[in-house]
């Protein structure tokens, strides 16, 4: 924006300079707040991960370097002992669970979200009603959805087992949340139910930017609708899709509440966030948990950088101005 051609009110300061000075003071309180709740705690977490601090004695920790991550000790007998998160099978199990959960859930949600968005992009009677209906899962608190589904997935009295039995898809009741084989499916089911609406709405916003005459032209040329979708629609909504996928991915990689409530203490679903908090708060291995959460932060940071770099995603929205 160019400065309006009027005389500066304060000696020596142009309007633009004056605005920039005001901008600084407008930003300062927000920046201060974010430093207090984000930057400083993050640095402290990283610091704690390099000490042997415990929950009961937050200031009694001493510097132990990278020992929480990996320490190598050679015993007098010549035996080498490795310790730390990086050789902890429970940690790698949590990493695997998280990655599996994130990739599968985002993939399913993208496909279903695309379908729902295409439906909502068509004009039909009752479209408003459908949009209202899909907003319901989004509005329900995650904890509440976890409890609702835990009840529906209950092994003895759950309605899902009842439905599947009636349809003849299973011949005996399944302990969805308790059994290690199915716990992950249960978590995925609830997550897909809860977050597909969000995905659909983001994709729908992208779809609505596609000019309608493109479809008209394709129709006149007699092109098969599927071909139109893959050759025209999909490339055009790619930016919206990329942004939606990264937002969901980041959310899925840090998943905590759903897993914590739906399948408590199940090794089959325990994610990185769950295991970090467990060590930090429940097991009094505060520094060890801090190391694990630092690793999670690093993994997410690397993932985002690679994604933005490879996909050339424009998150700031400044590019289209």
């Amino acid at each position: 924006m160019t400065a309006a051609p009027i005389a500066p009110r304060k000696a020596g300061l142009s309007l633009q300079q004056q605005r920039q000075r005001a901008a600084f003071w407008f930003l300062a309180p927000m920046l201060l707040a974010l430093i207090c709740v984000a930057a400083w705690p993050l640095l402290r977490t990283i610091w704690f991960s390099l000490t042997d601090t415990t929950l009961s004695n937050l200031y009694g920790g001493t510097w132990i370097g990278l020992d929480n991550y990996l320490s190598v000790r050679t015993l007098s007998s010549g035996k080498v002992i490795y310790r730390g998160t990086l050789v902890d099978p429970a940690w790698w199990n949590a990493v695997w669970n998280t990655v599996r959960f994130a990739v599968t859930s985002v993939l399913i949600e993208t496909v279903l979200g695309l379908i729902v968005a295409l439906v909502l992009n068509a004009e039909f009677k009752g479209r408003g009603l459908v949009r209202a209906a899909i907003l319901i899962p989004w509005a329900i608190p995650t904890i509440v959805s976890a409890k609702m589904w835990a009840w529906m997935l209950n092994d003895q009295f759950g309605i899902i087992n009842d439905m599947l039995l009636r349809l003849g898809l299973i011949d005996q009741k399944i302990a969805w949340t308790a059994s290690t084989d199915t716990a992950m499916y249960a978590v995925l089911m609830v997550d897909v139910w809860k977050t597909t609406p969000f995905m659909a709405l983001l994709i729908l916003a992208g779809l609505q930017m596609v000019p309608r005459d493109i479809y008209e032209a394709a129709k006149l040329d007699g092109i098969n609708p599927f071909k139109v979708f893959f050759k025209v629609t999909l490339p055009l909504i790619r930016p919206a899709l990329m942004v939606a996928v990264i937002f969901r991915m980041l959310d899925a990689l840090r998943v905590f509440d759903l897993v914590y409530v739906l399948t408590p203490n199940s090794a089959a679903t325990k994610t990185m966030s769950v295991i970090s908090r467990e060590n930090m708060i429940d097991f009094d291995k505060f520094a060890y948990g801090a190391a694990q959460s630092t690793l999670l932060f690093a993994i997410i940071a690397i993932f985002v950088s690679v994604y933005i770099w490879l996909g050339r995603v424009d998150l700031s929205g400044e590019g289209n101005r």
Partner: protein, 277 residues
Amino acid sequence: MTTQKLLKQPGFYALVVVIVLFSVFPFYYAIVTSFATGTDLFKVNYLPHSFDWSNYVAVMSGRNFVRSILNSVFIATTTVVFALFLAVTASYALARVRFRGRGLLLMTILAVSMFPQIAVLAGLFELIRFIGIFNTPWAMILSYTIFTLPFTVWVLTTFMRDLPVEIEEAAIVDGATPWIVITRVFLPLLWPALVTTGLLAFIGAWNEFLFALTFTSSETTRTVPVAIGLLSGASQQEIPWGPIMAASVIVTVPLVILVLIFQRKIVAGLTAGGVKG
């Protein structure tokens, strides 16, 4: 895909019905269960079978549940007011003033909202202990700023960018300072955006679980999600599904009503911010 062709297919409407059923059914079933008691609870009923308020009475009369609702209302409201207050001025600067590093600053703010919250848990825990607000509502109000503030700044910035330049220029020509421009010119135009953002931030704060679980230690300071998450029966085996469903319905119905009323605004805010509440 051609619209007319699709609409003629019965498959399209079948798909619509499946989407609606899948979305609504769990909530519907929670309501059905919340009105069932005794042995009714242990029979699968697809349709409402009994109509008994006793689960609601049990929830509201015991175990500090009302207290939890009040805690949640207080925490979410204060968080939103605080975030909006800081965000309005900040987003004016981000949307309307050109300065070096603006793009980088916006990306940093977005990065904070996408933070894995567990990464700041240890540091925040120490900070909250240090200030002496552990196990008080202020612990949540402070920590929720980490996701409500970036989110409100981000959404308000996108809204403010779209306001016409002419209004602002006219005000500046008339000698208005940036503060006057915000409070007298932009705020009246922005209130729909403020309602949307405030509502989304409120839902986010209302639903938060990790911080609320970690920073409270007694039943009287719990928020609603923690109270429901930890609601348990007399013994480990005996999970009180009736009261849990009643509690779930109590805390969800206001949200669902709000969402249905503000549908259009919420969709606009969600897609502008691209952040899950």
